[in-house]
Symmetry: C2
Subunit: 115 residues, 2 copies
């Protein structure tokens, strides 16, 4: 049935069979989702990756592939590694502020004890 094809089979202009590995994760109502992963990984690499996973983990894997593909389309140079750098900087900033604040507490404690 042409109208029952998943987004991947529709995009690749092929028949969508009952055992289509992509169909549960790339529904026809969200064609952009497949286009994104296809542009970055290619349909065959995505299929292979999903096929090697147990069924119950495939939805999460498809989601994370889509997330990474979107990041790469938005930032061709760094992809989601750019986000990792940014988060690591935020952690360092929060940790530095925490150390500073804890030092402030130590000073205050000594003031409370020996005013």
């Amino acid at each position: 049935m042409g109208s029952g094809r998943c987004a991947a089979c529709r995009y690749l202009r092929r028949k969508c069979t009952d055992d289509c590995i992509l169909s549960p994760y790339f529904p026809s109502n969200n064609p952009q989702r497949f286009v994104s992963v296809h542009r970055i990984y290619g349909a065959s690499n995505v299929s292979k990756l999903l096929q090697r996973l147990p069924t119950h983990l495939r939805a999460e894997a498809a989601d994370s592939l889509y997330y990474e593909a979107q990041c790469r389309l938005e930032d061709r140079v760094y992809g989601c590694v750019g986000l990792i750098f940014l988060l690591q900087q935020q952690i360092h900033a929060a940790e530095s502020q925490l150390i500073k604040t804890q030092a402030e507490i130590a000073v205050m404690k000594s003031q409370v004890q020996h005013p």
Copy 2:
């Protein structure tokens, strides 16, 4: 020259020409680097992505692709998105601790002012 081929051309058993797009970023002394990105993205997707970038950004792009590919090989389900979740959790934990510590300071300040 066979011995002058980059890791990509060596792996793909093809001639490495002077204008090989992959050769500057996949040197023959690190064959695993190419194998990783090839397994996740495929050589042709990596080439296309690098080709669309200005030359001075290609080394960083190749590094981030390699990083993401390594993450995906280590964690087939979440790839480096797993790391992003983890870092976000760490930020929330650090921020909560900071708010708690700042509240402690406020209490102490009031003790110093009105002992």
